[in-house]
């Protein structure tokens, strides 16, 4: 391949406007490429022909399985278990190509949109930020060797079709999206069969050994299960990796978040264009800061000099026909423009601010920053972004920083500063899976944000539990508290329960073996009688006494008792619960093996409002009882009868018939024993 062709090929992939590249044919390509190679270090990739002095071995094709799991948002099993947990993704597939519900695979906590229909469903903050296919769950895995990725294969052994995005973390410490699902991908029906899912990845030269997979469950019929993940690609020499890492270390302050967010891949195109035109800012050293300065200060003059089009001028042109001449968007009343801009997502809002001084003033108005959701921007959220937002968000009410800070981009100090400045009026705070949280951050939350109505601290489990919740006892107005997969001290939880009498939604799933759930249940019955939803998934130490206590919360609409009360018999508990809580709409009794036939009769007679019922793994179910329940619970939409061993094989057809007749979704998965 000739020098010129190679350069043109690479130039066209990175610039978005193709018409301008033809004009640039006069440029000295070789120097431009040398410069780009120094600036965009990720370009090195495969053995570069531009550097004849370095003897590069081409590397070999390597297929590798997962070595370890760095992070995941949720899993079905409990932490140290190897059944249905994220640790099963490690290594070779153990069950593929068999199809079935196997414990040796990775399963996530939710499926379908049943959790959105439940009483405990939350509304997303600043929903316009979310992409069309929102990510429900993710997992971050790492492999042994660095490769240039050519294929990522995901071995799905049960209900395939949840994967929507594949990301790779390069040596340049940036995440790149290697593949994204289109709408057409998801509407195509997936076969009920295990499959090796390997979509076509974007062509890239980045070097990586860390992959993140995003999942979306909304079209799934039941849980999806992943057996293994394989990364295929060409290896690169160790020397190359060292040189790139060395350059990273030497590089000055990283690209500012504003230009990173708004321009994304266009940083390359701007520098290209700027080189071709007369106005040449000196950006050889410290390219990042001077670019930022240029854009904020000199861009206006620059555009005027070169008579480049104002993109908004074309917008106002058709309006000019309908409206008397001289009228443009900026002549509209301030509040109207504010209302228009309030529909924009955060990234576009930053972009609009760079149009002109007027737009900058409007777009930085605090009313547009009353709700902030940085979850979709987890890859670029950094301390500088927090700093910038702190200046603008003086009326902050709702903040969602979930999933951010995974690679040390946000420092705890910066977060605390942000919170101290802007947190006192916060009503909703979501910090799910935030890796930068430490004890003093939580302390800060407790001290500053005393107006909190909703606090979500999912997945903040560290071993030993770092989080000091004592200051959280200061919060007195909580209505929703979410501690899914988070370790906490029982005493502190009890004091929080005593303090927050208006508590409506409480999630204590996976709270581990150290919590005495009976005490918690007693406290709930005494202090939190307005409780609407309670999630106690896998709470080992709940006994029949605890269940009796819970039954005193008469406003309950949702109760998840999955995997609790395993050995104990329920006694009178379920009967009391169903009698005292007539509003109960969702009841999950997965693997509550002590459920007797009498309990099932009670469910049929007393559960008039039940919409979602999970009876997985309960032994004493016969199909007469199921019929009872189907007949007497008119609002039932979901009935999970998986692993109910008492149901005979031949009765499954009858279940399908009833499912159609009563319009209830009946789940009945079981391990298909192939032996």
């Amino acid at each position: 391949m000739s020098l010129l062709a190679l350069a043109q090929a690479s130039a066209s992939t990175s610039t978005s406007s193709s018409s301008d590249t033809e004009l640039d044919a006069q440029i000295d390509f070789s120097t431009m490429l040398m410069q780009r190679q120094r600036e965009l270090s990720g370009w090195f990739g495969c053995g570069s022909k531009m550097q004849p002095d370095q003897v590069e071995d081409q590397g070999y094709y390597l297929e590798q399985f997962v070595l370890g799991v760095l992070d995941f948002s949720s899993q079905y099993g409990i932490e140290y278990s190897i059944s249905y947990t994220a640790a099963n993704v490690i290594g070779r597939p153990s069950k593929f190509p068999n199809y079935g519900d196997y414990p040796e695979t990775f399963t996530m906590r939710t499926y379908g949109d049943w959790w959105q229909l439940a009483p405990s469903a939350t509304r997303e903050i600043q929903p316009q930020n979310l992409p069309k296919l929102a990510t429900h769950d993710y997992i971050v895995v790492y492999f042994e060797d660095y490769v240039v990725p050519t294929e990522v294969a995901i071995f799905e052994t049960f209900n395939p079709g949840a994967v929507i995005r594949i990301w790779a973390y390069g040596l340049t410490k940036h995440w790149t999206c290697l593949w994204e699902a289109l709408d057409t991908d998801l509407t195509a029906p997936t076969p009920r069969n295990s499959r090796r899912f390997a979509p076509t990845l974007k062509k890239t030269t980045m070097i990586t050994k860390t992959i993140r997979i995003d999942f979306n469950h909304s079209r799934l019929n039941y849980y999806t299960e992943i057996d293994a993940i394989m990364l295929c690609g060409r290896t690169v020499s160790g020397r190359l990796i060292q040189s790139i890492l060395g350059e990273q270390a030497r590089a000055t302050k990283s690209l500012s978040p504003l230009s990173k967010m708004a321009s994304g891949q266009m940083a390359g195109s701007i520098t290209c264009k700027l080189q071709s035109l007369e106005f040449k800012p000196n950006f050889r050293e410290k390219s990042d800061t001077s670019l930022h300065e240029f854009i904020s200060n000199d861009l206006g003059k620059f555009m005027m000099d070169n008579r480049l089009e104002d993109p908004l001028a074309s917008v106002s042109a058709p309006a000019a026909e309908a409206v008397p001449p001289g009228m443009c968007v900026t002549d509209l009343p301030f509040e109207i423009i504010l209302k228009i801009l309030s529909y924009l997502d955060l990234k576009s809002l930053f972009r609009v601010g760079r149009v002109s001084r007027t737009f900058y003033d409007i777009s930085t108005h605090p009313l547009l920053y009353a709700e902030l959701n940085l979850k979709p921007y987890w890859l670029v959220a950094s301390s500088e972004l927090l700093c910038t937002l702190a200046r603008r968000a003086t009326m902050l009410r709702k903040l969602d920083l979930s999933w951010c800070g995974g690679s040390n981009e946000i420092s705890p100090t910066e977060f605390k500063k942000f919170l101290t400045q802007r947190g006192d009026n916060l009503t909703h705070l979501r910090l799910n899976s935030c890796k930068f949280l430490n004890a003093s951050c939580i302390e800060n939350v407790g001290i500053v944000c005393d107006n909190l109505i909703e606090l979500s601290l999912r997945n903040c489990a560290t071993d030993p539990p770092l989080l000091n919740f004592s200051c959280l006892a200061n919060l007195k107005n909580l209505e929703r508290l979410d501690l899914f997969q988070t370790a906490f001290d029982t005493e502190l939880l009890l004091s929080m329960l005593e303090g927050n009498r208006k508590l409506k939604h409480l999630n204590l799933a996976f709270c581990g073996v150290s919590v005495n759930m009976d005490d918690v249940a007693d406290h709930l019955a005494t202090y939190n009688t307005q409780l609407v939803s309670l999630d106690l998934w896998k709470a080992h130490f709940l006994s029949a006494r605890g269940l009796l206590a819970i039954s005193r919360c008469s406003q309950l609409e949702e109760l998840d008792l999955g995997w609790c009360l395993r050995e104990a018999s329920l006694g009178d508990g379920l009967f009391q619960l169903l009698s005292n809580c007539p509003k109960l709409r969702k009841l999950f009794l997965s693997a509550v093996r002590g459920t007797t036939e009498r309990d099932l009769i009670h469910i049929a007679t007393l559960g008039k409002n039940l919409e979602q019922l999970d009876l997985m793994g309960i032994l004493n179910i016969t199909h007469e009882r199921i019929y009872d329940i189907l007949v007497h619970c008119p609002k039932l939409q979901l009935l999970d009868l998986s692993f109910c061993e008492n149901i005979m094989e031949r009765e499954f057809d009858v279940l399908a018939e009833w499912s159609r007749q009563f319009k209830v979704d009946i789940k009945s998965s079981r391990i298909f024993d192939t032996r």
């Binding site: 278990s81 190897i82 249905y84 640790a87 793994g617 692993f643």
Partner: protein
């Protein structure tokens, strides 16, 4: 004639079953030997050369499945730091409740095998392995009920010690220079009722004998090159007298050829099988029954599992 035909069919089936384990142990041994050759030429890592053989009590009911003999089950695993072996014997009394006794023991052993590869595996605490495996039982969607005994043995390569944990009447024996140097004790509540890990059906909890993994008998001892280690279920220990076993085992001391080891394991299993079906012979089971004032004679028909290993350093 009929019995001869029957015996030969059983032998061929046993050999087929043992053949598969022979292959894995051969490749395993070869791989570890190759590996150790690459690592240190001076002293090879301590490892087990191990083989398995066994018979189900009732061949009509249990068609052959790898990893189990009737209601007995076994596993072998190895990591960088350790070699692990174990057996489990499902308690047959559950059959009358409609529960397959082999499911519990099989699951226990398969989970031990998976847990060995986990990051939180501690090569010095086999009790932890049993405890974690037992806990995993409760995390299964498919309800697994029943009970079983268990015996797990871990060779820690670095310290050249063997750590064991035993619950119930399965056990192990270590032979060195023609003498038994270590032997496990049978744990029984009363005659023919061994200690057992169990998961009863809900509601029957207080009526069912259930011992916790912590009640296991643990032992730790150093081993030398050439030691013979036998792990077996009570089908072997109850039918074959100790001096007969010693005769067989002292022949394979220091044996590194897995084929010869397999031959010995096969003959030991066959011996146990033959004696168990003999109604006149005064087996160790009959002797201990008599000690408990029960008039018994002959062998005890039971599932037989023999895991035979020699220590190679």
């Amino acid at each position: 004639m009929h019995s001869l035909h029957w015996t030969s069919r059983m032998i061929s089936r046993a050999l087929r079953s043992s053949f598969s384990t022979l292959l894995e142990s051969a490749t395993g041994a070869a791989a570890s030997k190759g590996g150790e050759g690459a690592l240190k030429s001076a002293s090879p890592r301590p490892h087990f050369v191990s083989v398995v053989c066994g018979f189900a009590k009732d061949n009509l009911r249990h068609k052959y499945k790898p990893g189990k003999y009737g209601e007995d089950s076994w596993f072998k695993a190895s990591t960088e730091q350790a070699d692990v072996m174990g057996v489990a014997d499902g308690v047959g009394g559950w059959r009358s409740y409609g529960i397959d006794p082999g499911e519990f023991s099989s699951f226990l052993m398969r989970t031990c095998e998976r847990l060995v590869q986990c990051s939180h595996f501690n090569p010095q605490r086999p009790v932890n392995l049993l405890a974690y495996s037992y806990c995993e039982l409760m995390e299964q969607k498919k309800p697994i009920l029943g009970s079983s005994t268990a015996c797990v043995l871990i060779l820690n390569r670095e310290t050249k010690t063997v750590h064991t944990a035993n619950i119930g009447d399965s056990g192990f024996m270590v032979v060195r220079q023609g003498e038994v140097v270590h032997k496990s004790e049978e744990q029984q509540h009363y005659f023919n009722t061994p200690f057992q890990l169990s998961l009863p059906p809900p509601g029957h909890g207080p009526n069912v004998l259930s011992d916790s993994p912590e009640s296991a008998d643990t032992m730790s001892f150093p081993v030398e090159d050439g030691d013979v280690i036998l792990i077996a279920t009570d089908g072997v220990f109850d039918n074959v007298p100790e001096d007969l076993m010693l005769d067989v085992l002292r022949d394979v001391e220091g044996e590194r050829d897995p084929v010869k080891l397999q031959m010995t394991a096969n003959s030991l299993a066959l011996m146990a099988r033959t004696l168990s079906l003999n109604s006149e012979f005064l087996s160790p089971f009959a002797l201990s029954a008599r000690r408990n004032n029960i008039q018994a004679r002959g062998g005890k028909p039971d599932d037989i599992t023999v895991v035979l290993a020699t220590v190679a350093m």
